[in-house]
Point group: C2
Chain length 240, copies 2
């Protein structure tokens, strides 16, 4: 099944943008009358019939709709400091979308070496990954904020976990992510630091705001591997 | 900590090969008397002192040794059909090594589009990933065999799981990987098929040999993402 995406769906009519129209009409050679599948990026799949096979502005009529198509039974926000080598962050964004995530929030820590990110490029990657893995919800990729701002703004009723391995913390405060997720709410927010780890000020702010420190086990994981391991932990615990 | 690798360790003396010697002496500029750390690739870390700082054949004296350095408390063999785009398989090999795996066995299915793989290249990738993630055990990468041969040769006392989603199987036979791993032995063998899935003959052979079919949940994962999700499931269940 090939999915198209549109943010212009109303009154039973779907309009594809220039890029999706070209792919639908020029590349895949769809003609008026063909059945096509369109996602709105917010969770709904529309079964449509192509009406105007214009390679710059294709139009289709909605035949049926299916909410929560390819959805997962949790809400996960992953806040991750972009890696020095941006390929590794983009790889994470693709794989996290496949497994199941709602928000991929790039955040910059006080110890981050990288302080810029092209969010538009990441959005294209997650759009493509969502279509490829048959999900109607495209993860949101907000503009980056600082780790301190992210810590302060995360909803207090979500399970908020900061992946941070401080050996000096008392053992009962160093839960594994698996134990932290057990019996927790289905709204989860996880924060992964930069290669240079969180600053003491960031850690103190997280603790003061009620974030729980968790570890990802004994393996020494790169930033992007740690982030995907956390997504997979949520998926395995709450999605299966 | 920078790790070197050697397969030439005996009588308290470590000899580095040409590549590792060049990296140690020419790139990192180690001199005789420097402390260096060497892994044997089989699980032991050796604390050494450099004796001969030769950029083609460096020699060091063993000061101390630490078995099971960076190890995990399970034994995992991942048999995976290499992807059409080999980058994706190599990416899996790197990430699986970081998370924790013992054997990465490339296997070719009857529906595999790709029928060749450069195992030497994959071995270099897992060597590099093991060093980077501070593990003294380098996953073995055997020469490829067919899926049918692999199914027949896997040890019967290991938990043998085939990731295969046949909706026609009775529900009680379609365990999630999480449930299949619960209470299972620590010796685990997991088989992941090609993009074109297993052939009926391969599935029948697996069932006849006592392999258990498992699913990885509702998300539609690419081959390499499915394989890493399976590694992560074992790591989270048995490694934390």
């Amino acid at each position: 099944m090939e999915l198209f995406w549109s943010d212009n769906i109303s009154g039973g009519t779907v309009v594809l943008d220039a890029e999706e129209s070209a792919h639908c009409v020029r590349v895949l050679r769809h003609r008026a009358g063909d059945a096509i599948s369109v996602i709105d990026g917010e969770g709904t799949l529309y079964a449509c019939r192509l009406v105007v096979a214009d390679a710059r502005r294709a139009e289709a009529a909605v035949v049926d709709s299916q909410p929560r198509f390819g959805s997962h039974p949790y809400r996960l926000t992953m806040a991750v400091c972009p890696t020095k080598n941006i390929d590794r962050f983009e790889w994470f964004a693709e794989k996290a979308t496949e497994v199941g995530v709602d928000v991929i929030a790039p955040v910059f820590g006080e110890h981050s070496e990288r302080k810029v990110i092209k969010t538009e490029r990441v959005r294209r990657i997650v759009l493509s990954a969502a279509k490829q893995s048959l999900k109607a919800l495209i993860p949101a990729v907000p503009e980056p904020v600082s780790v301190l701002d992210f810590i302060a703004s995360a909803p207090a009723d979500a399970l908020r976990l900061i992946c941070y391995c401080d050996e000096t913390l008392p053992r009962e405060q160093r839960l594994s992510i698996k134990d932290a997720l057990a019996g927790a709410p289905d709204d989860v927010c996880i924060l992964i630091g930069p290669e240079g780890d969180f600053s003491p000020r960031e850690v103190a702010a997280a603790f003061a705001s009620g974030w729980k420190p968790v570890h990802l086990g004994p393996s020494r994981l790169r930033t992007e591997t740690a982030a995907l391991t956390a997504v997979t932990a949520v998926y395995l615990q709450k999605g299966l």
